[in-house]
């Protein structure tokens, strides 16, 4: 019956937009994370290597012009060495005449190697040039789009997935508990409407809210100040988006089926969603997490939604990358939805 579907959906949408707290947790709260982390980490990973420099000469000039390192000038060698000794700089270069000498801190092997390599590299290149001979070995470098992303590129899909998970879980759970406790479910049971109508109207409203969230979060992230760049295959994220909503809606139904009060439902929903958010790469790239955590996180549907959303929104992967996230999320939906339908009761007693 379309009249019942429409009127139930309208009633839920009105209830949603008139509830300021829900609006806040649906839109403003995730957006706060996006804005704060987006601005905080905007320049992360772009820090240049800084080394001390004393004296002058073509090597230092070349280093400075290259943009690979930043030079901090010192008047005396002692002052520079002191900085290295204090651990403030990984190394310092002293250039006098044709002599270039590097002092470095050995505490960080990787940085020590890096600094040595850079300074030696520039020195040798100038040596070759000074001979007037063309170099025998040609060296070229090209940038590769690597797996590591700028923060906004992983924050946007992560926070979007998390925001949608919250919307779907809380929306489904709280509606069911509230309607059961206030006997709205009894009223619906006494009216000639099918459970499918009730369920599908609730699901449609959830999808509508999730679409609104996607527009808001992606829209804000696209602002120049955050600088999100969507990949060309962003639209392939839509099936992941929808199956993610279904999976979390099913989780919400399960929570709503076995809790009696809104307080209990809120608590249970938080217990489910919060750890998932922290362990699924919502706020940091999961690739940076320890291997055991990456394994553990694979049991969470949010991890798979994150992966799927990120693959298409920002990594520009092809359609084959859709298989795993969608299969996992739909599988989750079926299993959890089945359990929820078994646990479900119309009435409290």
């Amino acid at each position: 019956m379309t009249g019942a579907f429409k009127s139930l959906s309208v009633a839920m949408v009105k209830g949603f937009v008139r509830d300021k707290a829900t609006l806040f947790f649906t839109f403003v709260f995730p957006l706060m994370f996006l804005v704060v982390f987006g601005l905080l980490f905007r320049d992360a990973g772009t820090d240049k290597l800084k080394i001390g420099a004393v004296g002058d000469g073509p090597v230092l000039a070349a280093l400075e012009q290259s943009g690979v390192v930043e030079l901090e000038r010192f008047d005396t060698v002692e002052a520079g060495v002191q900085k290295v000794r204090d651990g403030d700089l990984p190394g310092m270069v002293e250039a006098t005449g044709n002599t270039v000498s590097l002092r470095f801190a050995a505490s960080d092997q990787a940085q020590a190697g890096l600094v040595q390599g850079i300074v030696a590299g520039f020195t040798q290149e100038l040596n070759v040039r000074a001979t007037g001979q063309p170099p025998r070995f040609q060296f070229t470098a090209a940038q590769v789009e690597d797996a590591s992303l700028k923060p906004i590129q992983y924050l946007t899909p992560g926070i979007l997935s998390w925001g949608i998970a919250v919307t779907a879980v809380f929306g489904a759970a709280l509606t069911m508990v509230n309607w059961r406790r206030k006997q709205v479910l009894r009223r619906l049971r006494l009216a000639p409407v099918t459970p499918t109508t009730v369920l599908s109207s609730r699901l449609s409203v959830t999808i509508g809210v999730a679409v609104a969230q996607a527009f808001v979060f992606v829209g804000v992230a696209l602002l120049p100040v955050f600088g999100l760049r969507l990949s060309g295959t962003w639209w392939l994220s839509i099936p992941v988006f929808l199956s993610g909503i279904l999976a979390f809606f099913a989780i919400g139904m399960l929570i709503g089926a076995f809790t009696k009060t809104e307080e209990a439902a809120t608590g249970a929903a938080n217990i489910v969603v919060l750890p998932m958010a922290f362990l699924s790469g919502t706020f940091f790239p999961i690739d940076a997490a320890p291997p055991w955590l990456q394994t553990v996180s694979k049991i969470f549907p949010l991890r798979h939604m994150n992966d799927g959303m990120m693959d298409f929104l920002v990594r520009g992967k092809s359609v084959t990358a859709m298989l795993v996230p969608c299969a996992v999320l739909i599988g989750f939906t079926l299993v959890v939805g089945f359990i929820a339908s078994k646990v479900f009761t119309w009435e409290d007693s």
Binding site: A4, N178, R186, L190
Partner: protein
Amino acid sequence: MTVTTQAIVVDGIRKAYGELKAVDGVSFTVAEGEFFGILGPNGAGKTTTLEIVEGLREPDAGSVRLLGESPFPRNKALLPRMGVQLQASAFFEKLTAREQLRTFGALYGVAPAKADEMLELVGLTDKADTREDKLSGGQRQRLSIACALVHDPDVVFLDEPTAALDPQARRNLWDVLRAIQARGKTIVYTTHYLDEAEILCDRVAIMDNGRILAMDAPATLVRGLDAPTHVILERGSLSLEDAKALVGADTAHEDDLSLTISTRTPAPVLSALAERGTLDGLQVRTATLEDVFLDLTGREYRA
């Protein structure tokens, strides 16, 4: 067949929750257009009885025919013909009174305009745009009745519609209930206010501990009690001896404030008092359903 004129036929229903026999062999019939009350203290089994008749619960034994059909399991043909008033909070959150009625109406395919008609019926026209949580207890109760009626059902079930209302709100609601009956609806209602049932109902069933103790028109039940009428005067307006000697007086007794004469023939007692000119503070109290309850159970009625 009597089924054509009987809206509800309940035959020997039982329902037990563990050891507790909530409903223990209840039978009654309700005629079409009748205002039928199920009375009794809390825990008497009124609500469970009602829920079984509505088809919300399956009885352990016995049968129910509602408009000639079985209400359990969920009978979709029957649902549009019955209206059930639920507890006063069974509303959608954040919606106004009119929006509630429109939403519930749409479940039955009722036109939106019907909402305003219902608001007028229950006297909430000026609250049409007020959200449910801003309504008073009585207003919510009336809205919840309007929600039960929005699809024009033949049989209306009301569970304690006047509970927890102040006296004025209760009286307003009585007018609503009478207006519903005037529309030709069959009404089944539960209450623990015996005085209210006496005023509103065509017939009542008095329940206690899951059983029906008595069932008839309220006036018939009271008459059947054969209880004396009490004529009460101010103390001192007549001596106790004179009172006992009045024609028709059975007994008389005094307390600190008043003199009470018990009689089965109040007319000669009252005319004798009128002749003596001792009508100061006169009250005449006849038996009520509470006396019927006392007689049936041997204990005072406590809601």
